[in-house]
């Protein structure tokens, strides 16, 4: 088994933290290379949720009894952990949603409906995930905003030649911090500054960034940042919207009901203060506790080490796949590992990605094939689908090699 000398993470030990990696599939070990889709969960996260359910389960912010206080402390403690993890200035700037998609919908619909009108421009990029496109399409249908697109340039990067013209007069610039298809890291601070210079707000979809790269939302200078728990070692059912206190105060509530009100009469309602104004109904309590444990886990590894590990493993993957398969394999995105995350979209010869990954499955290699919820980008790339391998803290060179072996096998099987 190939082991990287000097890997900043002790991957062999880390693998043991993730019980699912001990699972056998089709008689071999599980080689999980789909973390951009969803990450696996360390035992510590499962334990934290089990502890919550077996010791302190109660609804929050309501009861005067002990376990209700513990549950509330669990939820609010998780909020504080997340706030610290992303460099938020105040805990109340961290809003728990069900996923990144709800977070981006909240921005487009609650902030957007209140502040945008017919003819206003919203600038997106061709790299966006559908979660940062479709809500804006809905708003376009509803109030008649105009969508502008920062185009894809060379080597998987954006073409920023006409950035100033594109953002000129815009009200919103909303973009991903890291492409979930190409791995491209976007120049967040530059885009945020361009937005602000043009008088627009800057919205960052950090779903692929927060799990992999140390993130400081305050340093970014963004107005809103969205991300999702299940891609960062946390459970399903929880996402985060961060916003500056100023912009959150200036955003009407989105989903409404219990827990988000100060008062309700037959005539109307008064909203509660941040963050609860945006958290109607019973929040994802166990999921917040799990996300807090995930943040602890990642902080324990150190986000600098996580990033270093991924850069080095991505470098290994790009090199070894290219050496082994030459012209047959086409890997999209930046060629320089330091300019990208560990997400590699590729096609092999004229094999359809679906057929390729079907063979992978027989090797226990989990890789996703499809459009990766980025059909606008796929059209720009001129492909209908790619296979996408994505790396995380528990992956090593042996995993990359296992996929390479599976590629060879697929080529033999289909005779290409």
């Amino acid at each position: 088994m190939a082991m990287s000398v000097g890997d900043p993470l002790e991957v062999a030990a880390i693998k043991k933290d993730f019980p699912i990696l001990e699972r056998e599939v089709h008689g071999g070990r599980l080689v999980y290379l789909d973390s951009a889709n969803t990450s696996q969960k360390p035992q510590a996260v499962l334990d934290a949720m089990d502890r919550y359910y077996t010791q302190s389960n109660a609804n929050v912010h309501r009861g005067t009894y002990l376990i209700a206080e513990e549950a509330t402390a669990g939820l609010e403690g998780a909020r504080a952990k997340v706030a610290r993890f992303i460099g938020a200035k105040r805990n109340r700037e961290v809003i728990f949603t069900k996923n990144a998609t709800e977070a981006l919908n909240l921005v487009a619909k609650a902030w957007g409906r209140a502040h945008l009108q017919a003819g206003d421009a919203v600038v997106l990029t061709e790299l966006e995930h559908h979660a940062n496109i479709v809500p804006w399409h809905q708003l376009a249908e509803e109030v008649g905003i105009e969508l502008r697109w920062i185009p894809l340039g060379g080597d998987g990067h954006l073409d920023l030649t006409h950035l100033d013209r594109l953002v000129d007069g815009a009200k919103v610039v909303s973009f991903t911090a890291m492409s979930n298809v190409l791995g491209t890291m976007l120049p967040v601070e530059r885009l945020t500054a361009a937005a602000h210079d043009a008088g627009a707000i800057a919205v960052v979809d950090a779903s692929q960034h927060v799990p992999h790269v140390s993130t400081d939302v305050s340093a970014w200078g963004a107005d809103f940042v969205a991300f999702t728990g299940h891609k960062m070692c946390g459970p399903t059912g929880i996402g985060v919207l961060w916003g500056t206190e100023a912009i959150l105060d200036d955003t009407p509530p989105f989903i409404t009901g219990g827990e988000m009100i100060l008062n309700v009469t037959k005539e109307g309602f008064t909203a509660n203060e941040l963050p609860w104004k945006f958290e109607a109904g019973t929040p994802p309590i166990a999921e917040a506790v799990g996300l807090g444990a995930a943040v602890d886990y990642l902080s324990g590894l150190g986000m600098e080490a996580v990033r270093e590990h991924e850069v080095s493993l991505t470098g290994y993957a790009l090199r070894s796949l290219t050496e082994r398969f030459g012209e047959q394999i086409q890997i999209h995105g930046p060629s320089e590992p330091a300019e990208r995350g560990g997400v590699m979209s590729f096609t092999y010869a004229d094999l359809h990605p679906h057929d390729l990954t079907q063979v992978f499955d027989q090797h226990g290699v989990c890789v996703r094939a499809g459009h990766h919820c980025a059909k606008v980008l796929m059209r720009q790339l001129g492909v209908a689908a790619t296979a996408r391998a994505s790396l995380y803290v528990y992956n090593d060179e042996a995993d990359v090699d296992a996929m390479a072996d599976a590629i060879t096998d697929a080529a033999t099987f289909f005779g290409v």
Binding site: H26, H352, P353, H354, V359, H371, M378, A384, A385, F413
Partner: protein, 158 residues
């Protein structure tokens, strides 16, 4: 590699490599309908001409994996020249083989579609192995659903 041969039978790979009835038809008079597999991005375009209650001509465009492409190719060969009733029966039998459940007519829950024992699936039998790979069932049925929609639209446009 056990299992994969069940999915990728030789005849499937043959239709994939040499698809039948590939191309376009002028629409109108033909009807053109696009189908999407939202999960993987496969897109299929069915062009169909209906005359005298039968599929007088058919062409297939778009792109997809070997399963969706070969299923479309075999389908095109199987339905060309058939009456609409025959096409319906064939579709039912094909979906029955794919173990697709549909809601029953009285709305009481979902029922398993029964195959018509008189309908011969021929080459299409090769797709039986797809059932063991549930995610791929949508690949195999994409062209069929698109064809049904095209036939409906061609009826509606007359």
């Amino acid at each position: 590699m056990p299992g994969l041969e069940d999915l990728y039978r030789e005849i499937i790979l043959d239709h994939y490599r040499s698809p039948r009835n590939r191309g376009e038809l002028p629409a109108p008079p033909a009807t053109r309908v696009e189908g999407f597999n939202p999960l993987c991005g496969d897109e299929i375009v069915v062009f169909v001409e209906v005359a005298d209650g039968a599929v007088s001509d058919i062409r297939i465009g778009g792109q997809g994996c070997s399963i969706s492409q070969s299923s479309a190719s075999m389908m095109s060969a199987a339905v060309k020249g058939r009456t609409l009733d025959e096409v319906q029966a064939l579709t039912r039998s094909f979906k029955a083989m794919m173990s697709i459940h549909e809601q029953s007519l009285d709305g009481e829950g979902e029922v398993v579609i029964e195959a018509d024992p008189d309908v011969k699936l021929g080459d299409l039998e090769a797709l039986r192995g797809v059932v063991k790979f549930p995610v791929r069932i949508k690949c195999a049925t994409l062209s069929w659903n698109t064809l049904l929609q095209a036939i409906e639209e061609s009826a509606a446009s007359r």
